[in-house]
Symmetry: C2
Subunit: 156 residues, 2 copies
Amino acid sequence: MNTAVILTKEEFLQHWLGHRVLTRRTIEKFPEKDLFEFSIGGMRSFAQLVMELISIAEPGLRGIVERSEEGYVHDLGLSTKEALLSRWDADTPKIIELYNRIPEEDFHKEHNLFGEYKFPIYSNLLYFVDNEIHHRAQGFVYLRALGIEPPFFWDR
Amino acid sequence: MNTAVILTKEEFLQHWLGHRVLTRRTIEKFPEKDLFEFSIGGMRSFAQLVMELISIAEPGLRGIVERSEEGYVHDLGLSTKEALLSRWDADTPKIIELYNRIPEEDFHKEHNLFGEYKFPIYSNLLYFVDNEIHHRAQGFVYLRALGIEPPFFWDR
């Protein structure tokens, strides 16, 4: 295995935090009612998608740090935009603190995320970000369908 | 700078190639006509979004390898699903070959991507994948709106 560093642990964290800023801006763009009720093609509302992201990020990291295989709970019962944003903001420092507790030597160790997804930790972490980009992009389409300009993709 | 490896160069390539498999499956799911004509909220068709991805991946990598700042051309004039898929498949080995030519020591050097986006090469590469996930997810919403089940997110 070649061991030159293409991406440092801190760079990956900053990459993720940048995406979290953009996702927060996306939540903010939704009118309260549409955040919870609007959907396309039978998909979940953007609030439900965001609750999935919330139920993965901090709990998933906590599982990695504590080597816990506890399952996830996507239905968080957050029922206002303010509650979603507050939870988003409260989780960010926890995410930073937990992430910083993962030793770099552990990134290639396997972790059975939520008791279901057994992959190396680096792969778990890439999934957190991929899944956030994926669902946020769906929120972008909802916003366009509602006639609302989404945030700028580079605005992180 | 701490120098432990959290993600190897080869792991990042495999991560990207996995996403390319999923994006290809997403293109395949579209009926020919809808691929080029369907859109939501004034957005581009999925074919146009895919042409953007095609115009970024191989040309962007070539720019990195050759340190060229030539701009991108998104309008590739591919007008059938077969032409899009053929181009997608033709690009994959080129992407692998070009990527493998980037020395690991260069990932933290700056490159002015397409003459417009001056960032470290690792950041250019993360953007290629992020942007692919982002636009593919919009294709997932189009498919749902068309009553078509998108591919499974894990199917790479």
